[in-house]
Symmetry: D2
Subunit: 409 residues, 4 copies
Amino acid sequence: MHLAFPTPAATAHEAGPEAPFDAGFDPLGAAHALAERFAATAVERDRLGGHAAAEREAIRASGLLALSVPREYGGIGAAWPTIYQVVRIVARADSALAHLLGFHYLQLAGLSLYGSAAQQRRLFGETIAGRTFWGNALNPLDKRLVGVPSAGGYLLNGIKSFASGSIGSDWLTVSAWDPLANAPLIAVLPTRQPGIAVQADWDAFGQRQTDSGNVRFDNVTLPDDLVLQPASRAPTAQTTLRSQVAQLVMANLYLGLAEGALAAARGYLREEARPWLAAGVENAVDDPFVQHRFGGFHLLVRPAQLLADEAAHKLDAAFRRGAGLDAVERGAVAVAVAEAKVLAHRAAIDIGSGLFELTGARSTSAKYGFDRFWRNARVHTLHDPVDYKLRDLGRHALDGRLPEPSPYS
Amino acid sequence: MHLAFPTPAATAHEAGPEAPFDAGFDPLGAAHALAERFAATAVERDRLGGHAAAEREAIRASGLLALSVPREYGGIGAAWPTIYQVVRIVARADSALAHLLGFHYLQLAGLSLYGSAAQQRRLFGETIAGRTFWGNALNPLDKRLVGVPSAGGYLLNGIKSFASGSIGSDWLTVSAWDPLANAPLIAVLPTRQPGIAVQADWDAFGQRQTDSGNVRFDNVTLPDDLVLQPASRAPTAQTTLRSQVAQLVMANLYLGLAEGALAAARGYLREEARPWLAAGVENAVDDPFVQHRFGGFHLLVRPAQLLADEAAHKLDAAFRRGAGLDAVERGAVAVAVAEAKVLAHRAAIDIGSGLFELTGARSTSAKYGFDRFWRNARVHTLHDPVDYKLRDLGRHALDGRLPEPSPYS
Amino acid sequence: MHLAFPTPAATAHEAGPEAPFDAGFDPLGAAHALAERFAATAVERDRLGGHAAAEREAIRASGLLALSVPREYGGIGAAWPTIYQVVRIVARADSALAHLLGFHYLQLAGLSLYGSAAQQRRLFGETIAGRTFWGNALNPLDKRLVGVPSAGGYLLNGIKSFASGSIGSDWLTVSAWDPLANAPLIAVLPTRQPGIAVQADWDAFGQRQTDSGNVRFDNVTLPDDLVLQPASRAPTAQTTLRSQVAQLVMANLYLGLAEGALAAARGYLREEARPWLAAGVENAVDDPFVQHRFGGFHLLVRPAQLLADEAAHKLDAAFRRGAGLDAVERGAVAVAVAEAKVLAHRAAIDIGSGLFELTGARSTSAKYGFDRFWRNARVHTLHDPVDYKLRDLGRHALDGRLPEPSPYS
Amino acid sequence: MHLAFPTPAATAHEAGPEAPFDAGFDPLGAAHALAERFAATAVERDRLGGHAAAEREAIRASGLLALSVPREYGGIGAAWPTIYQVVRIVARADSALAHLLGFHYLQLAGLSLYGSAAQQRRLFGETIAGRTFWGNALNPLDKRLVGVPSAGGYLLNGIKSFASGSIGSDWLTVSAWDPLANAPLIAVLPTRQPGIAVQADWDAFGQRQTDSGNVRFDNVTLPDDLVLQPASRAPTAQTTLRSQVAQLVMANLYLGLAEGALAAARGYLREEARPWLAAGVENAVDDPFVQHRFGGFHLLVRPAQLLADEAAHKLDAAFRRGAGLDAVERGAVAVAVAEAKVLAHRAAIDIGSGLFELTGARSTSAKYGFDRFWRNARVHTLHDPVDYKLRDLGRHALDGRLPEPSPYS
């Protein structure tokens, strides 16, 4: 398979002068190595589904779990453009595993955005020391998990659905409804403890190995010092930046899927496809209609790449602004991320479905697994409706109105 | 599931005054009954794949195998518009089983178009008497099956791929390369005989229960009286009408898929979907973007229905012209069928993929199996490239040039 | 120019046994003759704009003003499918003049739907006797024309904008706001009388010769016997059918534009265009990309034709139901008309703009006037927003809700 | 009108340390000032057409004719990204005048790419000294102009069509067919001299004030020292870069048109449009369908902007490589320019036509002149067929094949 896409050079040295992490570490090289490894088994694992235990170990061994941990806490301290490149590179080969990795970075971003200095010191430190893998149990649409204040913290009871990366995780970010404050709190918890049960009941037709599921909490004690944001604290431009970090993870997953699908189609067309009888050419790649459609696909991917890269730079600048970030700056990031996400969404769906018009009937054999691009993109692009992103973008372009901060915008 | 689409009334009485078959037989009613039965297990059978043994028996029991057999041979003698309606109705529930049924009708059409009076008498009679199910081993792109003339017939050796409906069939239509004539012959053969091995090696990601596979022939004797068209006989407007019968089977399968997908989306939106937060409505069906997209989907299906119906009427008239059919009349059918096929293709793919923009993340659960619409449509619409259909249509619209008769046009 | 499209045979004999009008009258032939005449000057008249005085006389002389007048009043009594075919045929050559003719039929439809028997007798009779041309001053969005009840009728004062066909008309349909009833009345009036001033201030960039403008009313007396529908009378399924008559006039104008644009492109490609260097073909019509795009255009027109024809048949049946028409039957017509209108809208805009991708730079010379297809379609398709038609269609397809009767639906 | 688009800062100081030109000159500011001036009369001048005499003087007075002249010859020596920004800014207000300016830069680029040091010194010097406006007579598809070698040069006879900016120009770039070499030569000539007749016979429906026409040459003497490239000299990567300079002028003109159309739509929607009845909102900009479509338009413009900017940087680097440029580097520029051009083409056409779906019927009044966006884009985007650009892009993406150097690729 052809997974080589030109990627800008990036190193571990972006965030500052000193480098506690191995100064020679090459994040994009590590990502490419992971992608190559995952590509070899992607079709089979897509078919089998199930827990990505071995693959989590490979990610852990790659050193990439430390990529977004600030240098002062022993991490690589990479900038967001590099982090998203890593996610995208892995997604070309396997968008489910890239989801695990991207959501790990998302949880750590939450720690940066919400956490106190003490919490950051403790938890980033533990992430480096324990090579900790983070998962998500924060689905804001599901309010069934309730956190009742009790001595020195909260007692958690209930359930969270669509918890990506929860199975096999070491720590979870959790949101819970605080009935006294009538608002949600955000906290972190070690996954493996009595009272927390992660259920492997994710049964979607795509993104099968995202270790997603329902997480049940049965009288789980949440101590105050693991609460990143109590329900009583008002959201700020900084804290609501988390949804943009998440949205841009999505965009890069979609984009990696689109790139992976395009690479798969190219490889097949060059090496396996037979030209159509009526084309009168010797090789499928010489069919003018194949070339024309492929040019169209290329023009879906290229703009999405440029916009995703631009959005990553804007997000990075906003992230580094810290508590000084204001609503207008945050809104500009939200617009840039929405632009990238819509284009990446379209590229992944249109190429994932349309590539077969070029590769033809024989390419539908299960041995190629080419349908996984559409299935993965289709499942994942439903995180939030693209029509409301377009509305937000139109509203902004019409009268400058910024997207309202929400878990999705 | 909502499978009810308005269908024009049709009865068994179209072809003539006397009715050897049960005069009260209602083909569309029988098709709806089959569809309802198949719908109940469609998701599970799609998952399992495998031979459609039980379903073939249900089709057999429905009486629909006799639908296209002329009345003079004891069949129902339905006109093509009714036959294609039946295929489409079944395809709404299960496009793989509808494929089996549609290809049964295709083989019988071949008998009408190529066969001598004696062959028709014998084989139609046997179809009625034995409730015979026909399969296809005619893939014209695969020339590996060779028929060497021998005493009183031919000796067949080789293989045919993409043989739809071959597994579990009673009779097969076969094309074989005659090396002396340097052209293909077309014949029929009982499937179950020494030397014929049907291999269940179809592994595409859609249309999984079409009983397709490779058929191997090992020193099979083909007697002259089962040769419908020897290699030496030049094709005529009548005989090349077979490809149009086949193409319109495809179009109706695609259309049934599009209708089925639309019905599934409607059912889900009405009964299960939750409105998006930002929509500010109580029910998903009240979201203006949902309505707008659904209107767009509706406008993919409606024209395809009208064009498919019109093409069926034109094909029926051409079919009844028999040997008197000329190239211009045949060409007009080919244009009408191509129009319908392109629109049905687009409707099936666009709705099969796009419905999820409306139904959202929860609708991707394997329990609904909604991805099968796209998978089935995707695999099946690759029979021949849509771009060459568009070229044929453009060429005709520009200068009146008719599609060149071929196995695909 | 190539304006020949296959049209179904139609005669003047549809509506009943006796034929006061010349029994040999051929409406479609008359329409083709008009179209040929108008085509010769269409480019120049589009450039000049201005009043269509001479063209109105040609229409009058053609006999087509009587086409929709019932036979019992001396007219031709054609069914709606024929009437719409006539509009479409003329629109291929000149959509502005076809608008004049189509709106003449619309006003007469109003007389049938709203008028008393006495009014119909008088006004249809006068239409035949005086070869009367009807215009429109009914714009429901413009409520500046007020009708104050006065002795034996109303006193009209105010203005109506977007009055199509008002300049040079003999009679006008008028809506006026009745301040006592707080609702609009609908009436007819002779155009040429003191107090009515038709202003030729239509300055849109398309549909330039539609004789549209603002109509000013200055103390105009409207006698009761010219009021077709007083403000106090509640709308019925029958009376609100008028908007569907109007919408289907639009659809056929758009469709005629699309057909005319396609014919112009075909003529140019066959006779004038040079193939692109890189195509490596001798004639532009042999360029595979030209053929492919032209096939796509063809597939915009064909479905619109079928749906427009089907809608015309449904409308005709509903029209003949008279006062017995119910809301569900009316709604079914509205759905069919909306389907046709959306497809015709798309066809006219997409072909009007896209044809140039095929015909190239030299075809933009003013001498061909090919831009008029887009300009005419663009101006005319803005009568009401296509997005709300799609919403109506989606809403109906989702839950069976019928379009709410309005001047636009 | 709203013409303000964010543009990156640019100054006159890009090309080197010393600045013979006024160091404070602000090219983008000058472009915005010109655009504002031209916007005030754009609708009227579009209607009238004719020679842009006064506007040429305004451009001359702006100082922008010197923008691309190297500093060593007294010019501003701006880099290509700035030059293209200037063209784009002017095109937002008036794409015909921007065409004049862009083609002036194109002719000067030819001097840099083909001309000897002596020619550059003389002609750049003259351009600065005489504030010379350059025009084009190089149409490579028109081979009717013949240059027969004669003593000390050539004798030119014949005609050149589609000569943009020739009317009112001071100097022309000319290509002529050398019958001895059987190849074209490229030269420059003062426009105003006996034997050269520029005919104002451009009559396209858009880009009306581009001062285009046919140029006739009647026994015009071309001295050898005005020949930039004799017919015998083989094209190089450097010389064939001229077509990329030209293609990127086109792309920026299209992009300016798209931006101008979007700004016009936004201004109208905010200030003049009435919301549709059925929308149930107070302002047109609050209609969800308006917002959604506007978001879609925005997503046509943004990627085209990014790709055009990227292509400008690549072109600039290649331009500065001079004779050292190789075919692969040139090909990479051609790919980047093609990407930008296709997206800008689509944006200009789709927004120019589609904006009316939002702004509605009243916005078609001639007083707004909103149709000029489509007309200008439609005429100008036919310079070379977009389908062959897509083919080139697909071919490159499939197997790395670079666009073949030609006047269009």
